[in-house]
């Protein structure tokens, strides 16, 4: 290049335009929209459900997480080498983990470790929290877990919310938290809690934390909305944290008297079955919970446990 001539502003701009134009062309040719496959269609594969209970005093929650996954046939059945795994915990509230409003950080830590052991390329934690995300991640312990395990903590920034077609019965186009769509494998990691409208908030309702927009309007048809979302996100695995469950004053709680110890983890690849078993911990029959019976009706899964490969682990 002739260095003796100054580049004028005009030529510089021209060059920049050329470069960015060709980059853009290249990028648009490489870009293809890939949403997750719809789950409305019933899968014929036999599902599984594992219940893990810690009965010994001072058992390790991480160990229980590991045992539950082993009983399911090992994580390698679900996560392949080189996968990008995105975990959707429930970190909605800036509350201490023992108040039961958020997913137990030890379960999160255990799960991330197991995913990495299975050869996952990257594990990400993504949640669109209700309270300020920085405070939620710090206080619930998720930030520490991310740092310890080398997982990415994805903040719900506005540039990560994108309108997508949900193909729902009630919801058509809605802003979605993109990292959950762009994952190879999605794992739903909710905490089991009481909720004043949907009775309980378990796995299916946890997907409210995966969308943006006017999500508080979803409560006007909460059951169908959450089922639509569950169908859209269609996770590989559901692991429900019921180590301690919030039995009243949900979903935010705030007092230890709102919480009961259950020392249970529920793992399934069937969104309906996982929620149904968790609902039974609260003393409900699955069909009493609107989202569960609706999800079964639309074919997202079953709570007829005889149709599933059922296991129980005790630690």
């Amino acid at each position: 290049m002739d260095m003796n001539h100054f580049i004028t502003r005009r030529t510089a701009l021209k060059r920049l335009l050329k470069i960015s134009g060709s980059l853009a062309l290249y990028a648009s040719s490489a870009w293809s929209f890939r949403g997750p496959g719809s789950a409305w269609a019933k899968s014929e594969k036999k599902g599984l459900i594992v219940e893990g209970v810690g009965q010994t005093e001072g058992y390790s929650v991480r160990e229980l997480t590991r045992k539950v996954l082993e009983a399911a046939g090992g994580i390698t059945r679900f996560v392949s080498r080189g996968d990008v795994v995105v975990i959707k915990p429930n970190l909605s509230w800036a509350r201490r983990p023992d108040l039961g409003a958020t997913t137990n950080p030890e379960v999160l830590e255990g799960l991330i470790e197991i995913c990495y052991e299975a050869g996952a390329k990257k594990v990400r934690i993504a949640d669109h929290t209700i309270h300020d995300a920085r405070r939620c991640f710090a206080i619930t312990g998720a930030a520490t877990v991310a740092k310890k395990t080398n997982a990415d903590l994805i903040y719900p920034r506005s540039s990560l919310m994108k309108n997508m077609k949900l193909n729902g019965h009630r919801l058509d186009v809605w802003p979605v938290f993109v990292p959950l769509v762009e994952a190879d494998k999605v794992i739903n990691l909710p905490v089991a809690k009481h909720h004043s409208l949907s009775t309980l908030t378990l796995g299916i309702k946890n997907w409210i934390g995966a969308v943006g927009g006017r999500r508080h309007a979803l409560h006007q048809d909460i059951h169908q909305s959450t089922v639509d979302l569950a169908q859209f996100f269609n996770p590989t695995l559901i692991l429900i944290d019921a180590t301690r469950i919030m039995i009243k004053n949900g979903p935010s709680g705030g007092s230890l008297s709102d919480v009961a110890a259950k020392n249970t983890l529920i793992l399934s690849d069937d969104q309906v079955a996982a929620d149904a078993l968790a609902a039974m911990l609260f003393g409900y029959r699955p069909e009493e919970i609107g989202s569960i019976s609706l999800a079964k009706k639309w074919g997202l899964g079953t709570y007829d446990f005889r149709q599933l490969d059922q296991k129980k682990v005790i630690l």
Binding site: R95, R96, P105, D132, R134, I139, T144, S159, S196, P251
Partner: protein
């Protein structure tokens, strides 16, 4: 020491303090990556705090300490920094203005980058003028007002002004520009632009923080800042010469200064280069008296004199320097103004009689009367608030409370376990409080009420429990009664209707913020019930 060296030391010092100011300003927020060992998390109620001494410049500013002391009879935390500065001024003159003040540095740079005036016209503009008395007028007005019960020093204090302007107007202004740019990229269908948008957001987040802040009426703050920057084109460092009350205070304290400008009449050729470069209009030309109280100690005259006729020297002498030229009329006027302003501020009865429902103060705020004796309107609480709920007032707190903080619940809400605003307030207008105190006492900032005409369940428009769901107290302040309501289509439906338990409501406003009824939410918070005021309570 050679003049050249002194000027360079000044520039380095100015750069350092300006950068320090901006760094501390940027750090006045909840950092993004806060890690806590979660075994600790299990055991204690956490206070997330800001590690940096973000209030440092306010502690260094003697006007903040002095006005707080005179008005609120309160010694602010770190006041000895300001005391030290005053002592230094006694011996070294207005070294703060020339070497430290970040607002002065910005004016200096703006005046210097592209001087509006040239040659003889600049010499003329740098002559001392009677308008320079205005700052003494302002200082006396502000201090007297502070003594008589209304502290509005922060409106004019350079540190408060600069913090407020940058934190509430300049940074958010740039932030909005960036946000629009990133949103445009994020909404594109090109994968590369999406990634760049996310990358860009992460890249600017050390400065702009997580999320973008917006402030009501901040355009006005930004406009004033632009105007005072523009004034530098009429006279260099116009603000410092004419308006700055801190400069006036330091000018008064510089009477005994040992650092003096010595003039050599013999050597002077009357070239007036010194006057052309003088930043403070302090008459450096030999033959006239040096205005010690106006001199900003920039050392430009010393540096520019080609004949060596000017020199700054340390010399102890029992004789005082020339006193500040205040002007008798200005002083008398200031006395009158200083007494009138607090009275004018009381006219709306906000302190004694009425309580504005929209004036929701941050948790930990002192009772209104005491609050107004301490608040500097600096905007630090507004900058630090993670939900962006704290905004400057315009009319809600009356003239006396102009630009003081208030919470706007459609813009954010007060997070139940957050204590940041109390932790950073430089003067203690918002006192420091702990999470435990906030929850257990509790600190109440207002109370919510349901607007039944707008509420979805009450008006029969559908089920909704969003306010109750978000209510952070345990047990919740919002509770339900199951009732049968007739909807718009005349069908009756069983529905949960929200009711308020005023005994439990702390006024945090998350119900108002999250209410799906947009515009004017169906549940709203007013200041009534706030625990800082005995008069404004509702329940017995």
């Amino acid at each position: 020491m050679k003049a050249k060296h002194l000027v360079w030391i000044r520039r380095i010092s100015q750069t350092f303090f300006l950068l320090l100011f901006l760094f501390l300003l940027v750090q006045s927020r909840l950092p993004q990556d806060v890690f806590h060992e979660y075994s600790l998390v299990f055991s204690s109620e956490l206070d997330l705090k800001i590690d940096q001494p973000v209030a440092f410049f306010f502690q260094l500013d003697p006007l903040v300490s002095l006005s707080s002391l005179l008005s609120g009879h309160h010694l602010i935390k770190g006041f000895w920094w300001g005391l030290g500065l005053l002592l230094m001024t006694l011996f070294l003159g207005k070294i703060f203005c020339g070497f430290i003040c970040p607002l002065g540095t910005i004016h200096h740079v703006v005046s210097w980058i592209r001087p509006a005036l040239k040659g003889e016209r600049m010499v003329h503009a740098n002559q001392k003028s009677p308008t320079q008395r205005v700052k003494y007028f302002l200082l006396i007005t502000l201090l007297l007002g502070a003594i008589t019960g209304l502290n509005i020093a922060g409106l004019m204090d350079p540190i408060s002004l600069l913090f407020r302007s940058i934190a509430l107007a300049v940074l958010p202004g740039l932030g909005v520009g960036l946000k629009e740019f990133f949103d445009w990229m994020a909404n594109s269908n090109m994968k590369l632009l999406n990634l760049l948008s996310y990358g860009g957001e992460v890249l600017v987040s050390p400065v702009f923080g997580y999320g973008y802040q917006s402030y009501q009426t901040a355009w006005f703050i930004g406009l004033i800042f632009l105007v005072i920057l523009f004034m530098n084109r009429i006279r260099p460092r116009f603000w410092c010469r004419v308006l700055c009350p801190l400069g006036a205070l330091l000018g008064i304290f510089s009477r005994m200064s040992m650092l003096r400008l010595e003039k050599d009449h013999e050597k002077c050729t009357k070239c007036t280069l010194c006057a052309k470069d003088c930043q403070g209009a302090a008459t450096p030309v030999p033959g006239q008296d040096w205005e010690n109280a106006e001199c900003l100690l920039c050392f430009n005259c010393f540096d520019s004199c080609p004949e060596g006729a000017l020199a700054f020297r340390f010399r102890w002498s029992p004789k005082l320097n020339k006193g500040p030229d205040m002007g008798r009329r200005a002083v008398l006027g200031a006395l009158a103004a200083g007494i009138s302003i607090p009275l004018l501020g009381r006219l709306d009865g906000q302190v004694h009689k009425v309580s504005e429902p929209r004036l929701i103060r941050p948790p930990g705020s002192l009772p209104e009367k005491d609050f107004l004796t301490l608040c500097q309107r600096c905007g630090l609480c507004m900058k630090v608030c993670p939900t962006n709920v704290i905004n400057p007032t315009l009319v809600e707190a009356g003239m006396a409370g102009f630009w003081t903080p208030r919470l706007i619940m459609i813009q954010g809400y007060c997070e139940y376990t957050c204590t940041l605003c109390g932790g950073v307030c430089p003067t203690g207008a918002i006192r420091e409080f702990s999470v435990k105190e906030k929850i257990e006492r509790p600190i109440v900032i207002g109370s919510a009420y349901v607007d039944r005409g707008r509420c979805l369940p009450w008006s029969g428009n559908g089920p909704c429990i969003v306010c109750e769901e978000h209510c952070p107290t345990s047990p919740k302040a919002i509770y339900f009664r199951k009732e049968i309501v007739t909807g718009p289509d005349r069908k009756s439906m069983p529905i949960q209707l929200p009711y308020m338990d005023l005994k439990k409501c702390v006024g945090c406003g998350i119900c108002e913020y999250k209410c799906p009824v947009r515009g004017r939410p169906a549940i709203r918070v007013i200041s009534a019930g706030e625990s800082r005021s005995l008069r404004n309570r509702i329940l017995l």
